[in-house]
């Protein structure tokens, strides 16, 4: 499966510059690139393809279930050329989105397309945040907050143009919205690009064992919070699936992101789960636990949903799958 990495971020936040730098690195030689539009920063790359912003809205009317037919066609064409030997056999694809693009339809396209889902999988979502204007974007534009919320990796750009206090303030703000995504800064000559574009991502929230609870609140009235949940005992997969599908059915519009590393009963290795809005990417397993802590950790970045009720609900559903539960 070829990982598809997304670079998203607000207009002018340095997406193309970051991509340019990645493509200049020998480690990214086998990388195909798909861009929404050619910006001011020129990309000189052998495997470059442009897509137009054609979208097909499915009858559900759901924003995240919008099929990016243009993207699907572009990826199928690239894959077809790869198979016929017309382009080098790329083993990684980077997709640069437009400044206001919602990543959910991209995930939906990868998941729903009958051809693509067998050949591509979502890799990292890398979000660039401009240190000069990022704080204002977060206040004024919900899209900017959503881009931070869905990130697997966050890159603060142009940090040399503002004072350190501003950078630290922005770091604190974006970390409140998304406590799990590692934060990088540019310009930084030592930035290891392979730490940005990784095939499998999950980082435990850095704030430790808070159990359930809100890690962040939006003082601009949008009520976006990161809810961190830790479960000690191995989870019943059926009960967990029941809970998450029902939660996303009822509140998917307000669940910006789900990330989890789970200890599933009967499964010896950790299972990683990722979701954006109503969509859940097929779970994958890691060969081993990243730390000595083998408890299940789940982070939900939600809008206007109470953290205590989410935790109470998860535990109530997990009891349904508990082997010692009383008969109904």
């Amino acid at each position: 499966m070829i990982p598809v990495h997304l670079i998203t971020g607000f207009l002018g936040s340095g997406k193309t510059t970051l991509l340019q730098r990645a493509l200049a690195s020998p480690a990214f030689a086998n990388t195909a690139v798909v861009v929404n539009e050619f910006g001011e920063v020129a990309l000189d790359h052998l495997l470059l393809q442009r897509v137009d912003a054609d979208t097909v809205v499915l009858p559900t009317g759901c924003v995240c279930c919008t099929l990016r037919s243009d993207l699907g066609a572009a990826l199928r064409e690239l894959f077809d050329k790869r198979e016929r030997g017309q382009v080098p056999p790329f083993d990684r694809l980077v997709l640069e989105t437009t400044g206001l693009a919602d990543p959910a339809p991209i995930l939906f396209t990868l998941t729903a397309d009958p051809v693509l889902r067998h050949h591509f999988r979502l890799g990292s979502v890398v979000t660039t945040i401009d240190a000069v204007n990022g704080a204002q974007h977060l206040v004024r534009h919900l899209e900017s907050v959503k881009q931070v919320a869905v990130a697997d990796r966050m890159v603060l750009t142009k940090t040399d143009l503002v004072d350190r206090a501003s950078v630290e303030g922005l770091r604190a703000t974006v970390s409140r919205y998304n406590p799990t995504a590692p934060l990088f800064e540019t310009p930084d000559a030592s930035l290891a690009l392979d730490r940005l574009f990784v095939a499998e991502t999950f980082e435990a929230p850095p704030r430790g064992d808070a159990g359930g609870g809100a890690d962040a609140s939006d003082r601009h009235g949008r009520d976006i919070t990161a809810v961190s949940l830790i479960v000690d005992a191995p989870l019943d997969w059926t009960a967990f699936g029941m809970w998450l599908t029902m939660l996303l059915h009822a509140h998917g519009d307000d669940v910006l992101r789900v990330k989890g590393i789970l200890q599933i009963r009967g499964v010896p290795t950790p299972v990683v789960i990722h979701g954006i809005h109503h969509l859940v990417h097929p779970p994958t397993s890691l060969p081993r636990w990243p730390t000595a802590d083998h408890r299940s950790r789940l982070v939900l970045i939600v809008r206007s949903l109470p953290a205590p009720i989410i935790e109470r609900s998860l535990r109530a559903f997990l009891r349904l799958g508990s082997p010692e539960r009383p008969a109904a």
Binding site: W237, G241, M246, A250, V267, P283, S313, A316, L320
Partner: protein, 113 residues
């Protein structure tokens, strides 16, 4: 599509089972067991609304009302919207009434973490 019964080929949904994860059991037997478990839990959630869920040979779920109205549902994630329509109920895992019932059935004090 099955030529005899019209059943569709099984399409995996992330909730169905964990493939390639080294689970204790795999294959058709594990698939059926997973389906049975899903049906049992879904019925615990939906039975108070007069709804019954059955497995349709692991291809789909059948959702029925007490008056005999039935609908085929391809995957678990779609059960909830169909249940809301047939049962005229709300399928919300954060619903305090649902949580209180589940906690009562589990012998947990209402509202306890």
């Amino acid at each position: 599509m099955c030529a005899l019964c019209g059943g569709r080929e099984q399409e995996r949904h992330w909730t169905d089972r964990l493939d390639g994860t080294g689970a204790e059991a795999d294959g058709p037997a594990a698939w059926r067991q997973s389906r049975r478990a899903q049906v049992a839990l879904a019925n615990r959630i939906l039975s108070p609304h007069g709804l019954e869920v059955r497995d349709w040979d692991t291809h789909a779920f059948v959702l029925s009302t007490r008056t005999g109205q039935s609908e085929l549902v391809p995957r678990l994630a779609a059960v909830w919207s169909t249940a809301e329509r047939l049962g005229r109920c709300r399928c919300d895992p954060l619903d305090p009434g649902l949580l209180a019932r589940l906690e009562r059935e589990a012998g947990v004090d209402e509202g306890a973490p």
